[in-house]
Symmetry: C2
Subunit: 229 residues, 2 copies
């Protein structure tokens, strides 16, 4: 198909497609004349994935480009998760940490707590797992804010939840037969899974807060009361 | 203290502090002369929170300003979670959804699945809970990518994890005695909790993937093997 058809099929403006091509988010079509190229179903699939990464996952263009590069490389199965994870640092603000050494001279208090958590839960991972500095930095930030009591209370529950989600993630990946499809599953699932979890957390939080802190009986209309969503 | 001392205490450059003042992320100091103002411990605390929201939470300036405005308003306890959640749309790319109507004419397939999930889990929330459109949009995106099988397999595990995290979040909030401190706890915890969960998920994923897909015996050095982090 021509670019105009790729545009209508994916509901993506032509200038956006040209931007994706320039930024190496989309592989070039097969050139049929100096001014024309042909695109195929692989391009349609890729455009949809790139839009999901950028618009729903909230990745930067640079991060999305790293995911795409990981997809296009040949990976042994055991490395798929590691590469997809490293290609995606979330939240974006943490991405700058990639340039800092993995092992600072003095590990922070947060890092020591994460290391202890890994030991107590039997989590064995590569030392460059991107979750280690991210989780450690969050714990250090809570402490700087004088809110360490939150993580003292909540860390085990979060770790238990992370194990549940990881088991669900891996079960979904294990159900995929095709290796290239598995890579795409991991890449999309890493990014979109964070957003799904953030959404469900907000729903569950509000539901739990109504259970724990019931609102006083409404003296106005009933339309402000919570309801099954 | 003067602004220079606020700067050194919070390790934040003076131009950054001036930016925070301009963007209403930081409340004005008490003016002592046309060119000078005095700042107090409340300013120190606020600067640390704003940096956490921006740098660790990855919020935009506009989102952080909404959190700060929610902090400075007088809220009944039962509304604290709702307001903090609505002030923070994550990921940032979803924020634009705030301007779309809550109830489109035809609910998407993803929204129908989320509504069914709420019913099956007994989650009662306000219809404008921001997690509802976020989670629904993620499910729709998986489907558009041809990856609906992921959410078919994993959604229940994610929901179970969300309940665990919400219980941990509310337990942490419940342990706080002071109402204003509770608001700050909810605001910081909403943003930082997403980042903590994203970090722990990456650790747990890799640990689980090594359990499920053991790497072939290493023929090179052992330094590439995973280890307790």
């Amino acid at each position: 198909m021509r670019m105009s058809e790729l545009s209508s099929t994916t509901d993506t403006p032509v200038p956006t497609l040209k931007f994706y091509l320039r930024e190496h988010l989309l592989h070039a079509g097969e050139r049929t004349s100096p001014n024309q190229a042909q695109y195929d179903d692989g391009h349609v699939e890729r455009v949809r994935l790139v839009r999901a990464l950028l618009e729903v996952g909230g990745l930067s263009v640079a991060q999305a480009a790293r995911v795409v590069a990981a997809l296009d490389s040949e990976l042994p199965l055991s490395s798929v998760f590691g590469v997809a994870q490293r290609a995606v640092s979330i939240p974006a603000a943490i991405a700058g940490d990639d340039t800092t050494p993995d092992a600072p001279a003095r590990p922070s208090a947060g890092r020591a707590r994460i290391d202890a958590l890994c030991e107590s839960r039997g989590w064995r991972v590569y030392p460059n797992n991107p979750g280690l500095p991210l989780a450690a930095r969050v714990l250090d930030t809570y402490a700087e804010l004088g809110l360490q009591h939150i993580t003292d209370t909540a860390l085990e529950g979060y770790a238990e939840a992370a194990d549940l989600v990881a088991a669900a993630d891996l079960a979904a990946v294990g159900a995929v037969a095709e290796p290239t499809e598995m890579t795409r599953t991991v890449a999309a699932g890493t990014v979109l899974g964070d957003a799904l979890l953030a959404g469900l957390r907000r729903i569950a939080q509000e539901a739990e807060s109504f259970r724990r802190f019931p609102a006083p009986p409404s003296t106005t209309t009933t339309t402000t009361d919570p309801e099954d969503c």
